[in-house]
Every structure is written in structure tokens, then in C-alpha cells.
């Protein structure tokens, strides 16, 4: 029973790791890396869903009758694009944050903000 699910579990393990990085780490770039890992593991999960035993890549060719499920592939293609878009935007934000705060650590930024608040 467990063997049949191991693939999902690996994906879940990866998700947890990525998620942990996102929540627990203070460095903004690292957060984004974590986010990427998180998303990639979700992709792995999706693709695992679409696997058919003894199936072949979903490109029609003669003499092959079993194909793996193309739909998850399509979804993940879209999702990968979304992921890279998010990453790019996030990085741009990080750059701007670095420029205006001078640092990219979560707690430092919060400290700076508090100082700001007290001044005003």
C-alpha cells in the first residue's frame, strides 16, 4: 500500500521543505527560492498524478498505444510560467527593497519600519 504512494510522499516532503524555507527564513531571496521549491514540488505532484504505468510521452507515434495523461502536463506548463512570473516580480521587489532599505532581511526591515513609525 505504501509503495504505491511513495512518489506523492516525496513530493509532499519537498513541499514541506520549501514551505519551511518560506516561512522560517528571514532572507527575502531565500524566501523566493523556497517559494520556487514549493511550487516545483507541487508540479512534481501534478505530474505524478498523470503517470500511467508503461505509458509513453503523449506525442502520438505509430506503434504506441499507451500514453501518459497529457492534461497535467498542460496545466503544469501553465503553472511553471506563472511560477517564473512570480519569481521575477518578487526579485524585482527584493531589488527595490534592498535599494530603499539597504538590507534584505525580514527582521531588519521590520525594525527599520518601527523606527520610522516612532519618528513620525
Amino acid at each position: 500500500m505504501f509503495l504505491g504512494l511513495y512518489n506523492y510522499w516525496i513530493a509532499i516532503l519537498l513541499m514541506m521543505i520549501g514551505f519551511y524555507i518560506v516561512i522560517a527564513h528571514g532572507n527575502l531571496v531565500k524566501k523566493l527560492v523556497g517559494l520556487t521549491i514549493f511550487q516545483t514540488s507541487v508540479f512534481i505532484f501534478y505530474i505524478s498524478v498523470g503517470v500511467v504505468e508503461r505509458g509513453s510521452a503523449p506525442i502520438l507515434a505509430e506503434g504506441i498505444s499507451d500514453y501518459s495523461n497529457p492534461l497535467p502536463h498542460v496545466l503544469i506548463l501553465t503553472a511553471i510560467v506563472v511560477g517564473i512570473a512570480t519569481t521575477a516580480l518578487g526579485l524585482a521587489l527584493v531589488i527595490r527593497i534592498k535599494e530603499s532599505y539597504g538590507c534584505v532581511e525580514e527582521d531588519e526591515i521590520q525594525k527599520l519600519d518601527q523606527l520610522n513609525e516612532e519618528k513620525s
Binding site: W9, M15, G26, T36, I47, A57, P58, I59, I80
Partner: protein
């Protein structure tokens, strides 16, 4: 595959990026193993290529050491464990990995596999679904990329003040000197890369590939050029504002296919009416939208990269002319 743990532990951000690049490659290998060639294609070019490059560019700006202190790991760990526990609990009733009788393989997918050849006439089922059955998703995807492009632009555009300082010139020269071998090899490679991108673009119907992958590869080729020959040289060839316009054109091209089919009396993005023969129509439709996707992706990626790089240069310059002017907040 548990390289990710290493990423958690490593604090040197550059190493983290390398590791995440490897992670991307590895997951791409996994995708190949499980027959998802198209996805592998994309993941390889994105996970290991573009996103790595962007992160590198960002890191050079933001600095690469992570502060040692970590906060509230217990709470985070708790949340993560709960999430993971939930997920594992959820897997209990899942159909087994690779089981052919799972509902996923029973309901919608068979139609794609069995009939897409008659209905769309494209051997690559993924392309068929992407370009025709679920074309609206793809339109959304292009819009997402476009949004990201605009977003990055709106965040990072520098006011136009490109006058090259002499020190700038000097460093460039020095760098060119140093990278002689690589430059020559790359010069030979770049046309090949661009050609390959075009091949991927138009071969997407028959093999893995398509607009998105082609766009990324195309952009990667030009990025290579930029990295070796300097941003200014590259921007002379590829004018940034034209690139931005191209991004818009790509999206418009895609959407206008839909509009044309609407004018022809069918539903939005229904390619059957684009030509007399429905299959031909589908071919034309998919070709054009893939082209749209490719153009948008390539130009957005490029403009994102250009902006990152311009920022980097600006910062370097301002570091050199210490304190003369603060580039970052003159916006």
C-alpha cells in the same frame, strides 16, 4: 531529490541558487522519466536557466550572505508539519502511482489522446490541448507573463540617463579581455541557439516544445550575448522599448486570433473557422498563438533581464562615484 534540505541549510545565497538550479535540473530529469517531456523542456529552461539567472542578477545587487539569525522556527515547523500531515493524510485514499485505472485517466484525458488527432491534427497532444482545448488557459498564461513584465518594468525602470562613464568602459574592456575564449565560442553558439529556438517554436506541433520554451531559449541566447558583450552593446541591437512593444504585440496577436474567430461567427479562440478545412484552421490557429506566446515570453524575459542588469550597473556606478547621487530614490 532531497537536495532541498541542503538549500535550507546553506546560507551562502549563491550556493543556494546553484543548488536550486540543480534542483530544477533534477526535477526536469524526473519529468522526463515520467514521460512529461514538454514539462521537462520547460522546467529545464526555466528552473535551471532563466530563474537561476534572474536570481543571480538579483543576488549581485542584494548581497549574498544570509543573516545568521533565524526566528520562530518552531512555529514555522509546526505549521509545516501540520500541512505535511494533512497532505499525507490526503494521500491515503489516492489511487496508486501509475495506476492506469485512476479516475484521472478515465474521464477527460482519453478524449484528448484518442481524438485530438482527428479534431486538431497535431501529433503532440500536449500542444493540442494547450493550444486548442485549453487555449484560454494559455491566453491567461501569456497575460501572466505580460503582467510580470509590466510589473518589473514599473518597479525597476530607470530614468533615462545612459551616459557611459569612462570607468565603466574600462571595466567592460577588461572583462572582454578576460573572456576571450568564451566570447569566441559564444559568438559561434549564439546564432545556433537562436536558430534552435526557432526550431523549437515551429516544431512544437510534432515534438516537445512550443512557444514558451522557444521564447525562453531565444531570450537565453540574447542574455548570453548581453552577459558577454555588455548591456549597452546588447541594447543597441535589441532596443528595450521595441522589446516592450513586442511583448504587447505578442499578447495582442494571441487575443486577436480569438477575435478573428469571433468575427467569423464562432466562439472565441475557435480555430475551426480560420480556414475552410477545420484541421487547417486548427493548424493556423495553433501556429499563430504559439508565435504570440513565443514573442511575448522572449521579449518579457529579455526586458526583465535588461532591467535587472541595468539596475546592477547603476548601483555599481553609484558605488564608484561614492555618494554623488543616490540613484535608487531619485525615481
Amino acid at each position: 531529490m532531497v537536495i532541498a534540505i541542503a538549500i535550507v541549510r546553506t546560507r551562502n545565497l549563491l550556493a543556494v541558487v546553484m543548488l536550486s538550479g540543480i534542483y530544477g535540473l533534477l526535477s526536469a530529469c524526473f519529468f522526463v522519466v515520467v514521460d512529461a517531456v514538454d514539462v521537462a523542456f520547460t522546467e529545464a529552461s526555466v528552473g535551471a536557466g532563466i530563474s537561476g539567472l534572474l536570481m543571480l542578477a538579483a543576488i549581485t545587487i542584494t548581497g549574498r550572505k544570509e543573516a545568521p539569525k533565524r526566528h520562530k522556527p518552531f512555529l514555522a515547523l509546526f505549521v509545516v508539519l501540520v500541512t505535511g500531515g494533512m497532505l499525507i493524510y490526503g494521500t491515503m485514499d489516492m489511487p496508486y502511482f501509475g495506476a492506469a485505472d485512476a479516475p484521472v485517466h478515465q474521464h477527460v484525458a482519453p478524449r484528448y489522446i484518442n481524438e485530438s488527432m482527428q479534431e486538431v491534427g497535431v501529433p503532440n497532444i500536449v500542444t493540442a490541448v494547450l493550444g486548442s482545448y485549453r487555449a484560454f488557459d494559455t491566453l491567461g498564461e501569456v497575460a501572466v507573463i505580460f503582467t510580470a513584465g509590466i510589473g518589473v518594468l514599473s518597479l525597476l525602470t530607470l530614468p533615462r540617463r545612459r551616459k557611459k562613464t569612462s570607468s565603466d568602459e574600462a571595466t567592460e574592456e577588461q572583462m572582454h579581455e578576460r573572456h576571450m575564449v568564451v566570447r569566441i565560442v559564444s559568438k559561434a553558439l549564439i546564432p545556433f541557439i537562436l536558430l534552435f529556438a526557432l526550431y523549437v517554436q515551429f516544431h512544437g506541433d510534432f515534438g516537445p516544445g512550443g512557444g514558451f520554451q522557444a521564447g525562453v531559449i531565444f531570450a537565453a541566447g540574447i542574455i548570453l550575448y548581453t552577459m558577454l558583450f555588455g548591456l549597452d552593446t546588447a541594447q543597441k541591437v535589441f532596443n528595450p522599448s521595441i522589446i516592450q512593444l513586442l511583448a504587447a504585440v505578442g499578447l495582442l496577436l494571441y487575443a486577436s486570433v480569438g477575435v478573428v474567430s469571433m468575427i467569423n461567427g464562432a466562439n472565441f479562440l475557435d480555430y475551426n473557422v480560420l480556414a475552410d478545412d477545420p484541421i487547417d484552421g486548427q493548424h493556423i490557429g495553433i501556429l499563430i498563438i504559439e508565435l504570440g506566446v513565443g514573442i511575448t515570453v522572449a521579449s518579457v524575459m529579455l526586458s526583465i533581464f535588461f532591467n535587472f542588469d541595468a539596475r546592477r550597473q547603476a548601483i555599481q556606478n553609484s558605488n564608484k562615484q561614492k555618494g554623488e547621487q543616490d540613484v535608487s530614490r531619485t525615481l
